[in-house]
């Protein structure tokens, strides 16, 4: 008899047999095979349960509860269950551990340590329900100054001389981050793009190309050029609001991507322009970018390819030296710059990188914004920041620290039904979001999902206006980099220094 090294399950599925009608709906809906019917009753295999909660939601009698199975391990404050599970898992299979979503370590959020200002007496607050508060953002590169020629004899004769770079308008400073068709389902993509169009905000295509059906949403989509160049052709380049060269991603800075061949069905094949069943590997670096001047070359190439009609940007993961890198990128000609913090999400990334590489987005925004200002480049470029913008408070604080636009993905997935079970890379998402399996994908109703995203961001925008009103600001550009309206209450004054924010009470 061999010793079992299977580690204990995280969850325990509790089926109340008193009220279970044995309709087997739960077994049909469980895509992880944790529930089955043995002829007499519903039985569970706790080791397969990921607590995606699909069975709980689908049970017509409310007979199922998922409980945490945590009573059996001898407690240890250092060798936590998490650490022990990592060791058991690796000693079982010898591989690099995969994970999904963003960093799950309980690291203190700096956003939560920031407080917002509000008006009292010396200036009036504004009522957003009755007065105009503007949230429009221009996306693209701006000139350092506008050149006018003025007739000194007749000061009313004014000519505007500047030739402007392409810019487009969005109605809220919000971008739904890059999630490719492949990492998420067709229905999820469609819901996101429809919502982005309706709200006139932005959505990212991810690096997997753009399916023909999504071309009509192009004016609200930033397409991505990653190291794999999947689905990149001239139509892809010219049918986008903007093009982003993806250097890195917050969840896996310095890492490539890998969509296994079994997920490359005919839909993905058409979109990525690779044969069915073929692995889609994104090399770790771009092999035409080994240095900053090579990045400038690719930026220029994309501008040439699109005849200077589309803003070209660059996305980097927030890493230790983000600030000087950002300066190089802007000098290299990028019209917008996206920074993705270390809590940023992923459909699949090595756990070791997701959990340990990069820096928090709050610090990265502050450092990049400040450094760009030192070089007098900040106002020329649009700065997009993401990597765990969870709700409107984070968005507002990111803007006040210096971002033009806040980018997020997880709130969108959660709005569509995601329960954050963090198994996206297995392609078995029972909610039809992070999967390519037809029977699962059709569980996600596009109309419902779209409306929930629209509602979510409508409420964020209204909350943004509430805060602007309370601060006596009637346009979001006057919040941008207005660190004077933030105060820090966290435990580490050094953070306040780096953020350029005073401590509460100062």
């Amino acid at each position: 008899m061999s010793l079992s090294h299977n580690f204990p399950s995280y969850f325990h599925i509790k089926v109340d047999r008193e009220i279970c009608r044995k309709c087997k709906r739960c077994t049909n809906h469980c895509s992880y095979n944790a529930l089955s019917f043995n002829g007499e009753q519903i039985v569970s295999d706790d080791s397969k349960c990921v607590s995606c909660q699909r069975c709980v939601a689908m049970c017509p009698s409310g007979a199922i509860r998922i409980e945490k199975n945590d009573s059996y391990l001898p407690p240890h404050g250092n060798y936590t269950q998490r650490i022990r599970n990592i060791i058991w898992s690796q000693s079982g299979n010898g591989g690099v551990l995969l994970s999904a979503t963003g960093n799950d370590r309980p690291i203190r959020s700096i956003f939560d340590d920031l407080l917002l200002d509000a008006c009292q007496v010396t200036n009036p607050s504004i009522d957003p329900l009755r007065e105009t508060i503007e949230t429009k953002v221009f996306f693209g590169r701006k000139p350092k100054k506008i050149v006018f020629s003025e007739d000194l004899e007749d000061p009313n004769n004014i000519s505007l001389k500047t030739e402007f770079m392409p810019n487009f308008e969005i109605d809220s400073p919000i971008m739904i981050g890059h999630m490719s068709l492949g990492s998420i389902s067709y229905n999820a993509c469609m819901a996101i793009y429809q919502a982005a169009k309706k709200l006139n905000i932005l959505a990212g295509s991810g690096e997997g190309g753009l399916h023909q059906d999504f071309y009509e949403y192009g004016p609200n989509i930033i397409t991505e050029i990653a190291s794999g160049r999947f689905g990149v052709d001239i139509n892809y380049l010219q049918n986008a609001a903007g093009i982003e060269i993806k250097i890195g991603q917050g969840a896996k800075p310095g890492h490539g991507g890998h969509l296994p061949g079994e997920k490359v069905n005919s839909l993905i094949s058409q979109t990525r322009m690779i044969p069915k069943g073929s692995d889609a590997l994104s090399p770790y670096p771009h092999h035409d970018i080994y240095s900053i001047e090579d990045l400038a070359q690719l930026i220029s190439a994309l501008k040439e390819a699109t005849r200077y009609t589309v803003p070209i940007g660059v996305k980097i993961a927030a890493v230790h030296n983000s600030a000087p890198i950002a300066v190089g990128i802007v000098r290299g000609g990028a019209d917008f710059l996206t920074i993705d913090g270390f809590r940023g999400g992923t459909g699949a990334a090595p756990r070791i990188i997701r959990d340990h590489a990069g820096i928090p987005i709050e610090l990265a925004i502050a450092a990049v914004d400040s450094r760009l200002r030192e070089e007098n480049l900040r106002d020329e470029v649009t700065l997009v920041a993401g990597g765990s913008i969870r709700y409107s408070a984070d968005l507002i604080k990111a803007i006040a620290l210096g971002a033009d636009v806040g980018m997020c993905c997880m709130p969108v997935l959660i709005a569509m039904g995601c329960r954050v079970c963090q198994q996206c890379f297995r392609g078995l998402c029972s909610w039809g979001i992070a999967t390519q399996q037809e029977y699962l994908v059709k569980r996600l109703d596009i109309d419902v999902a779209r409306n929930r995203i629209i509602n979510l961001f409508h409420s964020w925008n209204e909350e943004l206006k509430e805060v602007l009103g309370a601060m006596g600001i009637d346009s979001v550009e006057s919040l941008r980099s207005n660190r004077d309206r933030l105060r820090y209450i966290g435990p580490n004054p050094k953070i306040a220094d780096i953020l350029g924010v005073k401590h509460a009470g100062e």
Binding site: C119, T122, N123, P124, I126, E131, T132, E134, K136, F138, K142, P143, K145, I146, F148, E150, L152, D154, P155, N156, N157, I158, S159, L160, K161, T162, E163, F164, M165, P166, N167, E169, R307, Y308, T309, D369, R373, E374, N376, L377, R378, D379, A400, M471, G472, I473, D474, S475, E477, S478, L479, R480, S481, N482, R483, D484, R485, K502, E506
Partner: protein, 398 residues
């Protein structure tokens, strides 16, 4: 008057924002005819309900015709040593044409009055950098790091007189009545916290730009960080300082026409812009996008004096009209007046039998612009490009 804190804030209030409510006034004679300071004192002191005795000041343009070629540095100095240091320092970078006290009437029993000094100055001319830019650098350096000295104004043929006291006291102290100017700005102050200091009173000045301001800019942090990109040091922690620098940046450095500058600082709402014809939309959207960090938010009314490109008086309020501003023009149409309250004009009528052709309230976020030799260019009731013949020669997106 408060006879302390001349050149810097007291330590414990360093790095703190100063908030104040205020009365502001100003006028310009469009023929450049010079008046002594009596009218401006009358206009300001009637607004005494708007001040609390913790700061006032005046700016006069055209007061030094004899030295009009030179930068007139108005200085507050703590002691003789600081003065000697300063004069030595300035000597290294240019020529001191004249160095003399600003005449004052110090009341009896004052132990420690400031040294009020003026220096007519000419920087060494350089190929690589304009005189103006050299002066800006010098003033930023002096006010940021030079102990015991504060430059309160630096323009040519103009000067600022300010201090910590009631407006009538400051007028009396500097003997404003004895100066003759074609444009006057004045300010009386109601700061929220007591440790007002002399340098922190209005007007705020940089070269030929002077600003008096009522209200509080809620976009202060955004504006400040924008200006820092261009090398300005916002050390005074008041929003009026950033307004002065924004005018300097846009009008002097970037050569943006004055009407466009006022649009950039208080732009129309997008809902207004979107109803305009195409070329105005292109211009306004690009102005808003490019100068998004220069836009002033929150309640304000300001009166600005410029001597570049031509002597000009500007009045502007925020686009929600949260602070007051009234305008008037004289019967002979040679003088344009601005004030927080119409009472200023009434007072001139009462005391000096002055007659106005017209008194009016400008629109919110819309500038009044009166320029020497050009008259009242804009009365503040126009739509953004009314009267302007705008040509858009650049194109969008390549």
């Amino acid at each position: 008057m408060k006879w302390n804190n001349y050149t810097s804030l007291v330590e414990k209030f360093r790095n703190q924002r100063v908030f104040d409510g205020c009365g502001i006034s100003g006028y310009i004679n469009l023929d450049k005819k010079r008046d002594n300071g009596e009218q401006i004192i009358d206009m300001l002191s009637i607004l005494s309900e708007r001040e609390n005795g913790l700061g006032a000041g005046f700016a006069g343009y055209g007061i030094y015709p004899k030295y009009k070629e030179y930068y007139a540095l108005h200085l507050l100095i703590d002691d003789e040593d600081s003065k000697e240091n300063l004069i030595r320092y300035l000597g290294d970078f240019g020529n001191i044409i004249q160095s003399e006290p600003i005449p004052t009437k110090i009341p009896p029993n004052v132990n420690n009055p400031p040294i009020t000094w003026r220096i007519f100055y000419e920087p060494k001319h350089k190929e690589s950098i304009s005189d103006d830019a050299q002066m800006v650098r010098l003033i930023m350096k002096l006010n940021d790091t030079f102990d015991g000295v504060f430059v309160i104004s630096s323009g040519k043929n103009m000067g600022v007189f300010k201090g910590n006291g009631w407006s009538h006291e400051i007028a009396d102290f500097y003997q404003i009545k004895d100066y003759k100017a074609y444009m006057w700005l004045a300010h009386s102050r109601f700061p929220t916290n007591t440790p007002g200091w002399w340098g922190g009173a209005h007007p705020f000045n940089l070269l030929g730009t002077s600003v008096v301001h009522n209200g509080e800019i809620t976009s202060y942090g955004t504006n400040m960080r924008y200006l820092e990109s261009f090398g300005y040091k916002c050390t005074l922690f008041t929003d009026t300082e950033v307004i002065a620098y924004l005018f300097d940046l846009l009008i002097r450095k970037q050569k943006i026409p004055i009407p466009i500058t006022t649009i950039a600082l208080a732009p129309p709402l997008f809902t207004t812009i979107e109803n305009m014809e195409q070329k105005y939309q292109i211009a306004l959207k690009n102005i808003r996008a490019t100068y998004r960090s220069a836009m002033l938010n929150g309640p304000f009314s300001i009166v600005v004096g410029l001597n570049y490109p031509k002597p000009t008086l500007i009045g502007l309020s925020d686009r929600k009209k949260l602070r007051p501003l009234v305008a008037a023009i004289s019967n002979d149409e040679n003088s344009v007046f601005l004030s927080s309250e119409e009472a200023s004009f009434k007072r001139l009528k009462l005391c000096e039998d002055y007659n106005f052709k017209r008194i009016w309230h400008p629109k919110s976020g819309t500038a009044i612009i009166a320029q020497v030799g050009k008259g009242l260019l804009r009365d503040g009731r126009e739509s953004p490009f009314e009267k302007i013949n705008l040509k858009v020669e650049g194109t969008i997106g390549g």
